[in-house]
């Protein structure tokens, strides 16, 4: 036996340290943030504040609703808790807040991109009991109602509008290229033909922008890849379910022809140099540049992008462009070969949800009701260039005429798709971006990229994959 060396002098100090660790370590893990919910008369509302100080659309709107709410409910208070962060950091912050009853707000603004993930984590409360007694819910269109519906069939969030996507094109460039001002492609080939014509006749502009690769993030997946994928033969055939996810077997689809077709389109755009230079396309700031620079300066022929672009060109935004609607035309994205239903759009958007650990859920739902009266909803859609998900607002001429383009993008709602935003989706989306990036740079062929995607998909979804 080895004799133990006694350390009579050090042991008390060590004891002190150990004791301090034992006492304080758990404290360090939980003692963050301030307690909320102690006041049953205050509803705490967390939302995303723009990182651009000039953009205060949501803040202004919520301050207005707060005033209405406090007036209609004497003795009740609303505490607005803005979180100033870019999208991905906002999600992280909110998820950390939702983990503990001490930090969970009563109402939280959730992106449909991640809501299913948060539902699976048990962060949110099902709203079905509230919805049963809320007349206005009938005014929401059916596709929007499913935006925050989980796999368990319950609804966890109230959408406050949505977005759709389509083709923006520069009428000036089209005129120089001899293309019609009321351009409407019927197939993918029509788009490529127009782009080739522009490349030929107006050589100093970028013919066509399709977001691609990891730097563009979800914009590459949603504005780029999925706008193609959801229009392939695979996706539009009779009885076809979602092209990424099979609802019946609850598995992700690998090895589909549609996936390769969509990748081939991306490859063609960049191989034939119809898109931005590859190094520009893979610049993290590409989407800001498209909105702020390329389109307003007339350097981009066709842009596959979202309905919210005019938000950046409104008065007070810092880069006003009042006559954009005279310079730009709009066309819906066609299906691959023009097959029925002829057009494609993707939708996302944000919802208001009540955290599972909220202290005042009843009051929080009351706040949603105030926020979602027809008048308030309409005010909000117009203020943020949003697309209505309420039938009564969509039919209101005041809304439809508030901005050029609103009618075009609202009509796309009938043929739009929501992403299979299940918990694995963010990882699947990254895998799609990687596949796009490798065909964009030419590092991989379409079939190699598709194979890599299948591998990544297996890892990302814990092997919940079906091969076609």
């Amino acid at each position: 036996m080895r004799p133990t060396a006694p350390h009579p002098r050090r042991s008390p100090l060590r004891l002190l340290l150990t004791a301090a660790l034992a006492i304080t370590a758990p404290g360090a893990l939980t003692a963050c943030g301030t307690g909320s919910g102690s006041d049953p008369d205050t509803v705490e509302v967390s939302y995303k504040q723009s990182t651009d100080n000039q953009i205060r659309v949501l803040d202004t709107f919520l301050a207005d609703v707060k005033k209405q709410f406090e007036k209609a409910n004497p003795g009740k208070k609303v505490k607005l808790v803005p979180i100033k962060a870019p999208d991905s950091e906002y999600y992280t912050k909110v998820q950390q807040m939702l983990r503990s009853p001490k930090t969970a707000p009563d109402l939280v603004y959730e992106d449909t991109f991640l809501i299913n993930s948060d539902i699976t984590s048990g962060y949110l409360k099902p709203l079905d009991d509230y919805l049963a007694g809320w007349k206005d819910w009938d005014q929401f269109i059916d596709t929007a109602k499913t935006a925050a519906k989980a796999e368990d069939g319950k609804t966890y969030g109230i959408p406050d509008g949505t977005d759709t996507r389509g083709l923006w094109f520069d009428k000036g460039i089209f005129e120089k290229a001899g293309l019609p001002a009321d351009w409407q492609p019927k197939t993918w080939a029509d788009i490529l033909t127009a782009a080739r014509t522009i490349k030929d006749k107006v050589p100093d502009v970028i013919p066509l922008n399709v977001y691609t690769g990891k730097p563009a993030g979800e914009a590459a997946t949603m504005q780029g890849f999925e706008m193609l994928l959801y229009g392939t033969e695979d996706a539009t055939a009779a009885g076809a379910s979602d092209p990424l996810y099979d609802e019946k077997s609850k598995k992700w689809k690998a090895g589909t022809k549609g996936f390769k077709d969509a990748l081939t389109f991306v490859e063609t755009v960049y191989k034939e140099e119809l898109g931005p230079e590859v190094s520009d396309a893979l610049d993290p700031n590409i989407s800001t540049r498209v909105r702020g620079e390329l389109l307003p300066e007339g350097k981009l022929g066709i842009n596959l992008d979202g309905s919210w672009l005019p938000q950046d060109w409104l008065p007070g935004s810092g880069h006003e462009w009042p006559d954009w609607s005279e310079k730009l035309g709009l066309a819906h994205m066609p299906t691959q070969n023009g097959q029925s239903p002829g057009k494609v759009s993707m939708s996302g958007g944000w919802t208001w949800a009540i955290p599972d650990k909220a202290a005042n859920p009843d009051l929080a739902f009351k706040f949603i009701e105030t926020m979602q009266t027809k008048a308030n909803a309409q005010k909000w859609y117009i203020a943020n260039s949003g697309i209505a998900v309420r039938k009564d607002v969509a039919e209101d001429p005041v809304y439809a005429e508030a901005q050029p383009g609103i009618k075009f993008f609202t009509d796309l709602v009938s043929s739009t798709h929501y992403r299979p935003a299940y918990p694995a989706y963010p990882k699947v989306s990254t895998a799609i971006q990687e596949a796009m990036e490798s065909v964009t740079t030419g590092d991989a062929s379409v079939s190699e990229a598709a194979e890599n995607y299948d591998e990544e998909l297996k890892a990302a979804t814990d092997n919940q994959v079906i091969e076609e």
Binding site: P8, S88, E89, K214, D280, L282, D443
Partner: protein
């Protein structure tokens, strides 16, 4: 087993009591350290062995070394380790270190106004927030950036540096930003060298290079070691600069470990895996530290 106890009476108080009294003033500091440093670190070490996710998971569980196994089987991780080493060697060991020493040495001989001016410029780069520096260098390297404007004016070929040579571009950015620190350390060290020694060597006919090799470098050896250790640890954890300039792209060609970690933990929400990578980064850092400490120990 019972330890023999000393008699209570005597010249000195009971050792336990004495230690406690001595430890008492340290207690607040110790508690704070434990609270804000050891606690989170211990928690992180624990998380690295779980499959904890930020979202998308009802319950997490303990999975042992699985995260580490995943990391070593993950090409993207190995790529990040390699790039981290390249980035550290180019920008810290070679760039910041030698440039800092050169600047410090040149400034020893420069006139006071020149010294103030150069020192001011270099230190400005250092005090700029990382993200601001990142944007400045993004503007310098991008296609329509300053560098290409200069090259174009000289009729030299231009290219998008952030796309063609991303790891070199971010390394250069880190040299630009961090050289001031080494310069300050070496300025202080060079000032400590007694003038008589250098003068004596000069009288003996030693040229500039010989004086540098046989006198200056050995005399500032400790400063070199300290400086290398500090700038290495700083460089290993550079995040904002690279994030702003390239986001680790294109195709992961500038994705160092901190960026890889961020992507796994917060974009793919794999907190457990991301934390395991953070621990491995800690290991890389301590390996470097051990090497420097050994270098420091050898006497000349």
């Amino acid at each position: 087993m019972k330890r023999p106890t000393r008699p209570a009476s005597g010249p000195s108080p009971h050792p336990v009591l004495r230690s406690l009294t001595r430890a008492l003033p340290l207690t607040p500091a110790t508690v704070l350290l434990l609270l804000f440093l050891a606690g989170p670190i211990a928690y992180c070490a624990y998380i690295a062995f779980t499959d904890l996710q930020l979202t998308g998971q009802a319950e997490d569980s303990f999975i042992g070394f699985e995260n580490f196994r995943t990391a070593f089987g993950d090409e993207a991780f190995l790529n990040a380790v390699w790039l981290t080493l390249v980035f550290t060697v180019i920008s810290a060991l070679i760039g910041q270190n030698t440039l800092g020493l050169a600047l410090a040495a040149l400034m020893q001989r420069a006139s006071k106004p020149v010294r103030t001016l150069v020192g001011g410029i270099v230190v400005t780069a250092w005090v700029l927030p990382e993200v601001v520096a990142g944007f400045l260098l993004y503007a310098f390297f991008r296609r329509e950036g300053t560098l290409n404007a200069v090259l174009d004016w000289l009729h030299l070929p231009t290219q998008n540096w952030l796309y063609t040579l991303p790891i070199l571009a971010v390394s250069f950015a880190n040299v630009w930003r961090g050289t001031a620190f080494s310069m300050l350390v070496y300025s202080a060290a060079l000032n400590e060298i007694p003038k008589e020694i250098t003068e004596a060597a000069e009288v003996d006919g030693a040229g500039g290079w010989r004086r540098l090799w046989h006198i200056t470098l050995p005399m500032i050896r400790r400063s070199i070691g300290t400086n290398l250790m500090l700038i290495t640890l700083q460089t290993l954890s550079v995040f904002g600069l690279i994030w702003v300039m390239t986001r680790g792209g294109p195709s992961g060609k500038s994705q160092t470990l901190p960026l890889f970690m961020y992507e796994e933990a917060f974009q793919k929400s794999m907190i457990g895996y991301g934390t395991a990578v953070a621990l491995l980064l800690l290991v890389v850092g301590s390996l470097f530290s051990v090497i420097y400490l050994r270098l420091l120990r050898t006497e000349v």
